[in-house]
């Protein structure tokens, strides 16, 4: 009876391992399939875009993309300059005082 139990358990555990093996394989295969699909799509899209560019058709598509990227960059540029303007406007009183004193020293005769 006990031997029967152990054999039964062993079979169940073996089945569990086999199932895990297949699950693991599926996880990897799924990732692999996803990867292949997205890479294939990306390559196809890349070829399409390159071809369009070579034929100089659909220029507006590229220009719209460049425009969007440039807008993004311009936003950053504007942000940086705005920050600099704020820094200038918020120049400390101590620095202003120092500059005023420097001018007075230069204006008054030695």
């Amino acid at each position: 009876m006990e031997m029967k139990n152990i054999l039964g358990l062993s079979e169940r555990l073996t089945a569990l391992i086999e199932k895990a093996e297949s699950e693991a394989q599926e996880i990897v295969s799924k990732a692999q399939r996803r990867s292949e699909t997205s890479l294939a799509e990306a390559r196809k899209e890349a070829d399409r875009r390159r071809l369009l560019a070579q034929r100089r058709t659909g220029l507006e598509e590229f220009l719209a993309e460049s425009e969007a990227e440039a807008e993004k960059e311009a936003k950053k540029v504007t942000k940086d300059y705005t920050k600099r303007v704020e820094e200038i406007k918020n120049t400390s009183e101590a620095k202003i005082k120092e500059a005023v004193e420097y001018i007075i020293q230069e204006v008054l005769p030695k």
């Binding site: 692999q32 590229f62 220009l63 300059y81 202003i96 500059a99 008054l108």
Partner: protein, 200 residues
């Protein structure tokens, strides 16, 4: 070891083995995903580069128009802010100069200004100052440079502080008023002032 213990041990070991398998699979999947992302980026970058090579001029023009425009506008705003703060500093300096004129050390400054101009002109001259300053300078003749004939007169022009010195035939004039000196300093000191303010 009892049978029950043996069974438990066997179950634990099997579960551990299962978990390891799944963990390994998940890790492998994550590696695939990460490699895929890198490859996708490479494909995109390479394509963009290829397109840029083909359509470089047009793309650069778009970039220059938009980013260049933002840079131009940004630089303009920075320059305006810089000009404004420097102007404020010179305005404050002007106010401080007025305090100097009204202050106790001004008379000493006035004599120095007159002496400096007379020395520089190096000939007989007339020193013009406002009414009060002219009166003071007349009382300080012994402290002015010697060697030339010097006349002190009240200026017809509105001089807040300092002097204007003219040679006798009126061909040479030295403007040594504090307003003039400040004006001259403004042109000369802008970059130093900007540096002191940290707005260069």
């Amino acid at each position: 070891m009892s049978n029950e213990q043996m069974e438990n041990k066997l179950i634990d070991k099997t579960i551990e083995q299962r978990n390891k398998m799944l963990e390994k699979a998940n890790s492998e999947a994550a590696t695939i995903e990460s490699r895929t992302k890198a490859e996708l980026k490479r494909i995109k970058d390479q394509t963009n580069q290829a397109i840029e090579n083909i359509l470089g001029g047009e793309i650069r023009a778009v970039h220059d128009r938009i980013v260049g425009g933002a840079q131009l506008q940004g630089r303009k705003l920075v320059m305006e802010a810089r000009t404004e703060i420097i102007s404020n500093v010179f305005e404050e300096a002007q106010e401080d100069l007025m305090k100097v004129i009204e202050g106790p050390k001004y008379k000493e400054v006035l004599v120095k200004l007159a002496s400096e101009s007379i020395t520089k002109l190096d000939e007989d001259c007339i020193v013009y100052a406002n009414k009060e300053d002219a009166k003071y300078l007349k009382s300080e003749m012994e402290n002015l440079p010697i060697g030339h004939k010097v006349k002190i007169e009240e200026s017809k022009e509105d001089i807040l502080g300092g002097v204007t010195v003219v040679n006798m035939d009126g061909t040479k004039t030295i403007y040594n008023t504090l307003e003039r000196r400040l004006k001259a300093a403004r042109g000369r000191l802008i970059s130093e002032v900007a540096e002191k303010l940290g707005v260069i």
